[in-house]
């Protein structure tokens, strides 16, 4: 069955995941349409980050199904590398390669994994770094950049693979309030350009602005979901209400 763009680009059905005896995901289902931006919010330990890692096959799931562009992610026959070319991920701790410059960080994967032409990739890398407002920082090493700048390099690095879906795992959680803005601006531009984005975030204001759908997770299940307007204005579940009252 071939995937067509009108079907969900990412689809999770009854995903269960346990680390040892601790059940982190207890039947999570959600669909993301192409070009959509969804935000997953919820208290710490509710399984948000694990969900993103499962979508990228960084951690295996116990049962259920996750498909990306119609392909089952946890099919043992699946070419994981092929999946990861389609799905870019940005982490809370940036995880840049400290021994490579910003430009090399961006160029490395397309050149070595996709075997693309080096000169062409270099041009694209310059373009991407300019897009995330890091013009002039191409030769800087991660240690010489601020947290916000590093995170934007990480975004450019993920974009260099031309992914169809971007996963953002609490990308602003380790940043100070000033630099959070720069990073959010970059993500907003991406979302507006039509990139499919899945965000795990604690930035409620930002989620309300850019998300097409908000999912609230607690203790491994999706408690409530809806478009941001309805979600923030009229949450029905008591757990959601409590969470929102603490945050807002």
């Amino acid at each position: 069955m071939a995937w067509t763009p009108d079907q969900p680009i990412v689809s999770c059905k009854e995903v269960h995941k346990a680390f040892g005896a601790v059940e982190v995901l207890k039947g999570v289902s959600l669909d993301v349409a192409k070009g959509e931006t969804i935000c997953v919010i919820g208290p710490s330990g509710s399984g948000k980050s694990t969900l993103l890692r499962c979508i990228n096959a960084l951690v295996p799931i116990n049962s259920g199904s996750i498909t990306v562009e119609g392909q089952e992610v946890h099919d043992p026959k699946l070419d994981k590398l092929a999946l990861r070319r389609k799905v870019g991920m940005v982490f809370q701790q940036y995880n840049l390669f400290p021994h490579k410059s910003a430009l090399q960080n961006v160029m490395m994967a397309p050149v070595t994994v996709l075997k693309q032409d080096k000169a062409e990739v270099e041009q694209r890398a310059y373009r991407l770094l300019k897009k995330v407002r890091l013009e002039g920082k191409e030769q800087a090493y991660p240690g010489e950049l601020s947290g916000g700048q590093q995170q934007r390099v990480a975004i450019a690095r993920a974009l260099a693979m031309n992914p169809d879906v971007m996963l953002f795992d609490e990308v602003t959680a380790a940043l100070d309030p000033e630099t959070v803005k720069e990073v959010l601006l970059t993500i907003r531009e991406l979302a507006e350009e039509g990139m499919t984005c899945l965000l795990v975030t604690h930035e409620m204001g930002f989620a309300r602005e850019i998300a097409d759908m908000i999912y609230f997770t607690d203790r491994g299940v999706i408690v409530e979901s809806g478009p941001p307007k309805d979600f923030f204005a009229s949450a029905k579940d008591p757990r959601t209400k409590e969470f929102l009252s603490q945050i807002l």
């Binding site: 960084l58 590398l81 070319r85 991920m89 982490f91 995880n95 390669f97 070595t112 693979m161």
Partner: protein, 295 residues
């Protein structure tokens, strides 16, 4: 004078007691910046103590020896070529054993983090065995288990004692290198693996392009430390009759037949090793301190 780092006015601080140290550190920082590398903290006084030991023992030996005998220092100078030739042999053995040990040890260390259980277990056993065996026993094993020559077809390759000793000494080295490599790879944050996996690198690419380059810096100080220990252990080869410095010193003593020379000659051997190993040790410390700050 223009190079001098700006100085704090001694009257302008509440902590004047700290100034000499601050000044010293500042000068050091300037020097390191010019050099672009860590400067080992060599202290000539440490070596001077040993040298003084040599001279005092030489003096004592001189005082105790009868009249008409050659001065002790002259004896040492006369035998200098023989002794230093032996020392050179020590260094050659240490180089070869380190090179071989590093080469094999690196692979062994990488095997220890293999995803295949048999490979992992096998390399772990080898590593633990050689790491926890006395160096001298390993040396004896190599001396007596390896043949003195190899015959391939009609070609006979001699396998001299010093080569066997080198292999014997490289066994504990490779086990230690294996642990250094394993430890360094494990010390890289897991985020590096996750990030590179998410960028579709395969395991081999991640290891060689992302993890190991970051490890080199971390492995350098323990590796240099190991080299210094190995160099000092090369004198073990004297036990199995290789003509390195200890053996040569023994021969010199036998030829001279003067008990008073015992301490001065062995002090000289000590001094040679100290002069060679001490800078390595200090440099290691300097590198460690530098990397500690940067990481």
């Amino acid at each position: 004078m223009s190079r001098r780092a700006p100085r704090l006015d001694p009257g302008g601080t509440d902590l004047p007691v700290l100034l000499p140290a601050a000044d010293h550190l500042q000068r050091r920082a300037v020097r390191e910046r010019e050099l672009g590398a860590a400067v080992p903290r060599l202290d000539w006084r440490h070596g001077a103590v040993l040298l003084a030991g040599l001279l005092v023992s030489a003096g004592l030996a001189q005082a105790q020896s009868g009249e008409g005998q050659e001065p002790v220092l002259e004896v040492i100078v006369r035998w200098l070529p023989v002794l230093l030739e032996g020392f050179l042999f020590n260094i050659v053995i240490s180089f070869l054993a380190m090179a071989f040990g590093t080469l094999v040890g690196t692979w062994l260390g990488l095997m220890q983090i293999s995803l295949l259980l048999p490979v992992r277990t096998g390399s772990w056993i080898v590593t633990q065995f050689f790491r926890n065996a006395p160096w001298l026993v390993l040396l004896f094993y190599c001396m007596f288990l390896l043949p003195f020559e190899f015959t391939i077809g009609s070609l006979t390759i001699p396998f001299p004692d010093w080569l066997k000793a080198t292999i014997g000494l490289s066994l504990p080295v490779l086990a230690n290198v294996s642990e250094i490599v394993r430890g360094a790879v494990n010390s890289i944050p897991s985020g590096q693996w996750e990030a590179s996996e998410s960028l579709a690198f395969n395991r081999r690419q991640i290891l060689w392009m992302i993890i190991l380059p970051q490890c080199v810096k971390r492995m350098l100080p323990p590796w240099m430390n190991l080299y210094a220990i190995l160099t000092m252990a090369t004198v073990l080869a004297s036990v199995v009759g290789v003509s390195e410095m200890m053996t040569q010193a023994g021969r010199v003593l036998a030829a001279e037949d003067r008990p008073g020379l015992l301490i001065p000659i062995y002090s000289f051997v000590l001094l040679c090793f100290f002069v060679y190993c001490y800078p390595i040790a200090r440099w290691t410390v300097a590198l460690e301190r530098r990397f500690q700050v940067k990481l």
